[in-house]
Amino acid sequence: MGRIITITSGKGGVGKTTATANIGAGLALMGKSVVLIDADIGLRNLDVVLGLENRIVFDIVDCVEGNCKLRSALIRDKRYEGLFLLPAAQTREKDAVTPEQMIQICTELKESFDYVLIDCPAGIEQGFKNALAGADAVLIVTTPEVSAVRDADRVIGLVESRGIEDVGLIINRVRPELIEQGDMLSVEDVCDILAIKLVGVIPNDDYIVISTNRGEPVVSIKESIAGQALGNITKRILGEEIPFLNLKVKPKGFFASLRELFSGK
């Protein structure tokens, strides 16, 4: 019996889709069978981030309307053993699927997969309700900005009111140098406000942009610090105790400063 995890945030553009793709790929790398559901009908992205866009034949709406079997709508990611995607329809809207149909799909997928990850659309309307319908656990993605934290708070309230108790927090795009200057909410500040279990802290990383554009999950890029953070999140989801990455700004040594001075940087 698998576990259904919905990844949501309230605010758009904080990294839900990137997190979903990478956690999915990470779980697959750890030998789990995973299916990713894109619940963002009409604005699908997850397929693009995974580089599977050109392989879509059937989508979630086709399944719901009975045009195809659920199994035939799943796209297998050839790079990751055990990773599947159930894409969203691009030409329809959120109301093409009802929460009941979503629950039905989830329970069916739960039978044959270890993890079902649902990429929730931004907002708290129909798409959000669909994505949350069958969830066992929820991961909230936020950035250290007041607007994102405010929306995350709202979403946590809605999630808790549905009786879902397993709610984890991922803080994305953290910039330690700004926190040190006092220009950004620190991880502690965000945790203070939201008061839920912290699952991961992802530092701001250019590799994310590169990997998203290439359609390759960043977890498989060893040099990327965001990739490491996402790998750690995956392990924490699997129940391992992993310490958080040290994101302190390293104090510059005397020679490093000198070298910088002479190299004209």
Binding site: R150, D151, D153, R154, G157, L158, E160, D192, I193, A195
Partner: protein, 207 residues
């Protein structure tokens, strides 16, 4: 003591009639009659004070009936106050305001409204709104909008660990203020209380 409707005690000031108001008025009067018949000379010309020994109190009417009965029985008797609070109580009843406890943090978009006191065992986050006809007591930090005395009671107060500037908005009765950053006062005890003073909302912190 509590099994009797009435007991008599004498002290320097005079005679004290201690009434157990859980008994009915007729029972009390019967007991009183019996006590008076037993030893009428004892009561003659005395200053009698009525008291209650239970939480139950006599109403003003009942008090008047007993006083009248005593004064009819003896010529020069003086009956003094049936303990003051009983009389006050019958005029201005102490009202018990309903109080609600809320477990956990109140988050953005959540709206609480209650016709009494509210006690929140958690924070009130930005974007949350709380309205109570009575007082509000927040065990955590207030970042949202809190409104005490919603129905217009300007004696209502709001207490919390800290009003976080600049998000928090404090409303009492018909007044509104925003939380202000104040570096001068040190909130060491972790308690801030907002109430109305001279028609403005004042927040003071316990040091």
């Amino acid at each position: 003591m509590a099994t009797e409707a009435l007991s008599v005690k004498g002290d320097k000031q005079g005679i004290k009639l201690i009434i157990n108001a859980t008994f009915s008025l007729t029972e009390i009067l019967n007991e009183l009659k019996a006590k008076l018949l037993q030893n009428p000379a004892f009561f003659e010309g005395a200053a009698i004070k009525l008291e209650s020994n239970t939480l139950e109190l006599l109403s003003k009417e009942e008090y008047d009936i007993i006083t009248e009965y005593l004064q009819q029985s003896f010529q020069d008797i003086s009956v003094s106050d049936y303990r003051q609070y009983a009389v006050v109580d019958s005029e201005e009843k102490e009202e018990v305001v309903p109080t609600k406890f809320m477990m956990g943090t109140i988050r953005s978009g959540q709206h609480l409204k209650y016709p009494g006191n509210l006690i929140i065992l958690g924070d009130v986050n930005g974007g949350a709104q709380i309205e109570a006809d009575g007082n509000i007591c927040v065990m955590g930090v207030v970042r949202g909008t809190v409104h005490a005395g919603f129905a217009g009671d300007d004696r209502a107060f709001i207490s919390c660990k800290r009003f976080e500037a600049p998000q928090a908005q404090i409303r009492i009765a018909s007044l509104i203020v925003r939380a202000e950053q104040d570096d001068k006062t040190e909130n060491t005890a972790g308690l801030e209380i907002a109430h109305i003073e001279n028609e403005t909302i004042v927040v003071f912190s316990k040091e």
